[in-house]
């Protein structure tokens, strides 16, 4: 597939991204060699009246958002981000935006590989965590807690300010 070359990383298109537990913020494995930096989320409306969803959600489907983190692997073993979670969203998925035939296309990925000694930089127009079904508006000045579940490093979390 052409877009695999565009990103430079093998992309496997099948497979559902498993959603991590909502109890983000709990660091399970302390001997990790994974470092999380530059986390942020883009402002986004929840599409729900008054910016709060709960039961009162009207006919409008909740909005989506995106969060970005740079993951560095200082260890000698490759690791992979398997899933992400955020309390503010119903679902979080690992996605990549790739350019294909003049279009920007989004692809859900089953995992983000982080090679040993390497890093994976999420950014607009590239790898990102898609936050689906926002329960509240993401407003600048607020901070999201994003849970990240790694194949080897286990469960980690990071504070992502909304910009």
């Amino acid at each position: 597939m052409r877009f695999t070359h565009a990103v430079g990383v093998p992309i496997v298109m099948c497979g559902l991204v498993v959603i991590g537990q909502t109890s983000a913020g709990h660091i399970g494995h302390r001997h990790t060699t994974i470092q999380l930096e530059n986390a942020w989320a883009r402002r986004a409306p929840s599409m729900v009246q008054g910016g709060q969803s709960s039961q009162g959600r009207g006919a409008m489907t909740a909005g989506n958002g995106a969060a970005y983190v740079t993951i560095s692997n200082h260890g000698s073993e490759a690791d992979a981000l398997l899933s992400a979670s955020a309390d503010v969203a119903t679902t979080a998925e690992l996605h990549a935006t790739v350019e294909q035939d003049g279009k920007m296309v989004m692809r859900p990925l089953p995992k983000f590989d982080v090679p040993a000694g390497g890093k994976l930089e999420m950014k607009p127009g590239g790898y990102h965590i898609m936050l689906l079904g926002l329960k509240q508006d993401l407003k600048p000045g607020e901070t999201l807690n994003v849970g990240l579940s790694f194949e080897k490093a286990g469960q980690m979390s990071v504070e992502a300010p909304v910009k």
Binding site: L16, R107, L131
Partner: protein, 196 residues
């Protein structure tokens, strides 16, 4: 990647829009030389009013196509354009941004209004009938394809070209901003158009 994009847009413009498209040294975006008149359309604005492009003369109009379910490219564009307006200071009064939906099924005027205003209160969301919207996409050479994607609970996604179309105060299509241009570069290009 960027090069493919440039080639693609140049090819497209040659076919659809302009007698000649040249990369101008003057603009950071892709300049259309000579600039063709921006093709006119009327769509429904998110506030319920009618938006007619030719009634925007005197302003720089920024047209961007997208959909509110888009979590990455479209909101990035809107956020950056809001930062561009902030960079323009007082001159921002002469800039009108319009976000044209590629997803009229899900993007109601109300939804478009909430969405665009979350980025900038002056931004307008535009929708219309499927035919009207298809016509506008053709006018501007926008590619958009609805696709069911496995592995996401987003329902369907829309693969689409991601340019911002910049129309000068005389109603000519002057510059295309490709995705990824800096807010500084975009603001400088717009300043030039407001000066000329």
């Amino acid at each position: 990647m960027r090069r493919t994009l440039v080639r693609w847009v140049m090819g497209l413009c040659c076919v659809l829009v302009a007698p000649a498209v040249l990369q101008s040294a003057q603009f950071a975006g892709q300049a259309l030389v000579p600039p063709p008149p921006a093709m006119d359309f009327t769509l429904q604005a998110s506030d319920g009013s009618e938006f007619k492009l030719s009634q925007q003369r005197g302003k720089v109009v920024l047209l961007s196509f997208g959909y509110t379910f888009c979590p990455d490219v479209c909101p990035t564009t809107l956020m950056e354009l809001s930062q561009v307006r902030a960079r323009l200071g007082d001159a921002a009064k002469r800039v009108q941004m319009a976000f044209i939906t590629l997803d009229p099924e899900r993007d109601t005027p109300e939804r478009l209004g909430i969405y665009t205003k979350a980025f900038d209160p002056t931004f307008i969301g535009l929708t219309g009938s499927a035919e009207q919207l298809a016509q506008v996409r053709t006018m501007y050479g926008v590619i958009a394809e609805k696709e069911a994607v496995a592995g996401t609970s987003a329902g369907y996604l829309i693969a689409h070209s991601a340019y911002t179309y910049v129309i000068d105060p005389e109603g000519r299509l002057r510059v295309l901003f490709p995705f990824g241009l800096s807010t500084e570069e975009m603001a400088d290009d717009i300043k030039q158009l407001l000066r000329s």
